[in-house]
Symmetry: C2
C-alpha cells in the first residue's frame, strides 16, 4: 500500500508564477476542494469545495428568487427526437452528448441524451403549460447537473459533468424577453462583483460564439491572474427559436394566438475556478469572506505545558464570542506544528487567522492576520467581535479592488493587427480593437493569435477593422479558458 | 390546438374514497406539484412541488449537518467494473441500471452506469482518502439525482429518476458504524414525525428485504391513509462489505492496518408522496405548516365596488403584518370567483386561509379557516399575528396526532396465518405476527397474501411462526407501495 504522507502537502504546491496551470490543479488537490475520480473528466467535489459552492448557491439563489423566479426540476434525460428539434441546438451540442442506450438488459427504443442543457425538455413542458397571456411571464430556474463530453478537462473549469443553474423564462413580447436577458446579466454581475469579488465586463457575443439556438448571447467575462479571460456566465435571448419548434404559443390580450419569446441563462461550478484564478497566490487560495467556507480560523500557540489551560480557556471564550458572528473554525489538532497549520490555512484560503498564545492571554489580546495582505495586528479581546466583522468586510473590498486594478491595467486598446497580435502575445489581458462584423476576420484573428472575441463592447464607437479596414464596432479580444 | 381550460380543474379530482390511486395522481397534477414528462417514468417537479421539496431539504439538511456531517458531490457515472465489485450490490441493481454507451459519435470503452446509488463510486474515493484512524470517522452526505429503471412508475413514489440524499460514512469500529446507523434512523424519525407530521415505525429489514450489499438495513415505515405501508427511509450498516472490495483500510491506533466499517442512509422525493397520502383528503392536499410552500393565503372578498379600496387597504395592512412571520400568499386575482379560489387553495393544501371582506374591515377583523378541521374563527386584526403562529402550530400537531391515531388503530397483532391473511385482506394496516426467520415462510406469506414483512420488531418477544410454528420473533406485515 502506498504511504500517503499528508503532512507534507503544503510544500508540494507549484509556484504560481513558474507554472500557473500546475499551480491551479495543485492547489485544488492540496486544499481538498476537489479530487480526480475514476470517471474520465469527472471530478469529486470534496466537502470543503462543496461548502464553498453551497455558499455561492445560497447567495445567487436568493438573488434569483428576489427577482421573481421560482425553482423547479426537470428530467435528466432528453429524448433524441426532442433534442434534435431545434437545428442549430442539436448541431452545437451533438458532439458532446452522452447517450443512454440501454436500461437493465434491454435496448431502448429511442436513445436518451443526458441533458447538456435543458431548453428542449423544458420547452416541451412550456408548450403544455402555457395557454394565455395571463400565464406569462413564466420565470423558472433549475439547479442541476449537466453533462458535456469534453476532450480536455480541468477541475471546475471544464468537466464532463458539472453543476449549474439554468433559468428558463417565457414572455409575451420580444421587449420583455430582452429586458429579462439583460436583467439576469445584471443579477450575475452583482453576484460576481459583490459576492465573489470578481470584476466582470459584460457584452454581446458574436454570432459565431453565441449559444447554439439563441438569438443573442450576452456574456460576463472575467480576467484571470495569468492574463487569460474566463467566460463566467451567459444570458441568452432565445427569441422565438424554441417556441416555434416546440409550439409554445399563447392567446394574447388581443385574442390572437402567438408564439412566445424566451430567455435562458446560467452559471456553473466553473465559477469556483474563477475564484481560485482571480484571487489565489503562491501560498494557495484566497477566498472572499462572503463565500469562504471558513471565514476565520483560531489557532492556539500552546507554549509551556503549565500555561496550556490558560490558552485553552481563552480560546474557548473567543470561540463562544465569535460563533454565529462569522463562520469559525477552531483548530485544536495536536499532531501538527503551528507553522504547518499556518501554511495549511493559508493554502486553504481562510481570509482571517486569529492566533492566541500565553503572552496574548496575559495581555487579553489576540493576533489577527489577514490572508490577503498578511498584515498582522494585535487586537484586545473586548474589541475582537467588531474588528473581525470590519476586517472581513475590508478583505472583501480589497480583493475586489485588487482584481479590478489588475483587470483595468490589463485592458488595452489597439488600432492595428500588429499591435493586437503583439499585445495578445506579450501582455495578454483584454485587447480592444475594431472589427467589421465579418466572421472571416474573426476567424483569421483567432488562427493567427489564438485570441477570440470575448464580447462586443456595449458602447457605440465605430472604427476601422484591424484586419480588413472596413468600418466596424469595438470588440475585446483575449486568449481564454 | 387543444383548448386547455384550467378554470375547471378543481372539479376534476377523483374522490379519495372511491379511487385512492386516481385521487393521488389527480391531486398531484391539479395542484401543480408535478407533471408527466416526455421521458417515460420521469416526472417534472413543478415550482409548487419543488418549493415543498426545498423546505423539506432545508430542514433535513440542518439536522444532517448538526449531527456532524458535511455535504460533498460525487460523479453521476459509475464505471461498470466499479459497480460490479461488490457481488450482491451489482446483482441487486443491475436490472435497474441505465447505461451510457456512447459519447458524441464514439462508443465508450467501458459502459457507465448512471448512479442508482453511490456506494461504489464513493467507496473508491474513500480508499484513496483514508489512511489513519485520525481520518475517521468520515461523515459525508450528498444531495443528488439517481436513476433506477422501473417497470411501473408513479409520481414521487417510484420514478425512474428521483432526487434524494445519501449519507456515506466510514468508521474505525463495528460498534461506531452500528451507532451511526441507528443515529441516522433517529434523525429521520425526528424529521418525519416533527417536520412532516408522519408517524413511523422503525426496525430491521429481513435478509430478503435488505439493501443489496448491506450487512443490516433499518427502515422507517409509515402507514398511508389507504392502509398500505410506505418505506420512507432506510439506514444501512454496510459492515466491511464495501471496505473489503474497495480496499478501504486504515492504520489503527495499535499500528495495525484494518478494514474500515461503513454505513449509508437515504431518503428521497418519495417523501412527498408520503405527505400527500398521509394527510390529504377529498378536497386535495393538506400540508403540515413546517414544510408548506405557502402557510397562509389571504383572500379578499371584494363586495360592492365602492368598498373595494377599503378591502384592498386592509389587505395591504395584513400583508405587511404577516410578511416574514409566515410564508404568505395574497391572492388578488380578479379572473376567478371567491368560491373557485377557496377550492383551489384547499386543493393545494395551504394550511390556513385568511378571508377579508367589507364587513370584516368595518369590524377590524378577519376570518381564519383551518385546512385540517375547516374550523372557522373571527379574529381581531390586532391579535392576528400571534393567532396565525398559534394556529399553524396547532395544525402541525393535529396532523401528526390524527395520522398517529389512524396508524395505531390500524396496527393489529394476530397469532394464526388465517387471521393474518384475513386482516391483511379486509383491514389492511400493519399486522404483527411471529415469524421463524426462515425465508421460505416469508415468501409463502407474500405469495398467499401479497403482504411483506415491513420490519422486525425491535422488542425481543418470542412466539410461534404463523406458518411453520417454529419459535421466532415479532415482525410486522403489510401490503406496501
Amino acid at each position: 500500500m502506498v504511504v500517503k504522507d499528508k503532512n507534507n502537502f503544503v510544500e508540494a504546491i507549484t509556484n504560481k508564477s513558474v507554472d500557473f496551470r500546475r499551480w491551479y490543479t495543485d492547489v485544488i488537490i492540496a486544499a481538498q476542494l476537489a479530487d480526480y475520480s475514476p470517471v474520465k473528466g469527472c471530478m469529486v467535489i470534496r466537502p470543503y469545495g462543496y461548502a464553498l459552492w453551497e455558499n455561492m448557491k445560497a447567495l445567487l439563489d436568493r438573488k434569483i428568487k428576489d427577482t421573481g423566479h421560482e425553482n423547479a426540476y426537470f428530467p435528466l434525460f432528453v429524448p433524441e427526437s426532442l433534442l434534435a428539434k431545434e437545428a442549430e441546438h442539436i448541431e452545437g451540442f451533438a458532439p458532446e452528448v452522452a447517450w443512454v442506450t440501454h436500461a437493465g438488459n434491454e435496448k431502448l427504443e429511442e436513445r436518451l441524451a443526458i441533458r447538456p442543457t435543458s431548453e428542449a425538455i423544458i420547452g416541451s413542458m412550456y408548450a403544455k403549460w402555457i395557454d394565455s397571456w395571463r400565464d406569462l411571464p413564466v420565470l423558472i430556474n433549475q439547479w442541476a447537473n449537466v453533462v458535456r463530453w469534453e476532450k480536455v478537462t480541468r477541475p471546475f473549469l471544464r468537466t464532463t459533468e458539472f453543476l449549474w443553474q439554468e433559468g428558463h423564462t417565457v414572455h409575451r413580447t420580444e421587449k420583455d424577453a430582452e429586458e429579462e436577458t439583460l436583467k439576469m446579466l445584471e443579477v450575475y454581475r452583482d453576484f460576481m462583483e459583490n459576492d465573489l469579488a470578481i470584476p466582470v465586463y459584460t457584452g454581446r457575443k458574436t454570432e459565431r460564439e453565441k449559444f447554439a439556438g439563441a438569438l443573442k448571447t450576452y456574456t460576463l467575462e472575467a480576467l484571470m491572474s495569468d492574463g487569460k479571460a474566463l467566460q463566467s456566465g451567459t444570458s441568452h435571448n432565445l427569441g422565438q427559436h424554441f417556441a416555434k419548434v416546440f409550439n409554445i404559443t399563447f392567446q394574447d390580450i388581443d385574442g390572437e394566438r402567438k408564439f412566445a419569446w424566451q430567455t435562458s441563462w446560467g452559471v456553473s461550478t466553473r465559477l469556483v475556478g474563477a475564484l481560485i484564478m482571480t484571487h489565489g497566490d503562491d501560498s494557495g487560495l484566497i477566498f472572499p469572506p462572503k463565500v469562504a467556507p471558513i471565514q476565520a480560523v483560531v489557532l492556539p500557540i500552546w507554549g509551556k505545558k503549565e500555561r496550556e489551560d490558560e490558552v485553552e480557556n481563552k480560546m474557548g471564550e473567543i470561540e463562544k464570542m465569535l460563533t454565529g458572528v462569522c463562520r469559525l473554525k477552531v483548530d485544536r489538532r495536536r499532531e501538527h506544528t503551528i507553522g504547518w497549520k499556518f501554511n495549511e490555512w493559508e493554502l486553504r484560503g481562510v481570509p482571517l487567522r486569529i492566533e492566541i498564545g500565553p503572552r496574548d492571554v496575559q495581555k487579553n489580546q489576540v493576533v489577527l492576520v489577514r490572508r490577503d495582505t498578511r498584515e498582522k495586528e494585535f487586537v484586545p479581546i473586548s474589541e475582537l467581535k467588531n474588528k473581525v466583522l470590519k476586517v472581513l468586510d475590508d478583505i472583501q473590498k480589497n480583493l475586489f479592488e485588487r482584481a479590478k486594478k489588475f483587470r483595468d491595467e490589463n485592458t488595452r486598446e489597439v488600432s492595428t493587427f500588429e499591435e493586437l497580435a503583439s499585445t495578445v502575445e506579450k501582455k495578454r489581458g483584454f485587447v480592444g480593437a475594431f472589427w467589421c462584423g465579418d466572421e472571416k476576420c474573426e476567424v483569421e484573428v483567432k488562427e493567427k493569435t489564438a485570441a477570440t472575441i470575448r464580447f462586443i463592447s456595449p458602447d457605440s464607437k465605430e472604427g476601422k477593422c484591424v484586419l480588413c479596414g472596413k468600418t466596424g464596432h469595438l470588440v475585446y479580444f483575449a486568449k481564454a479558458y
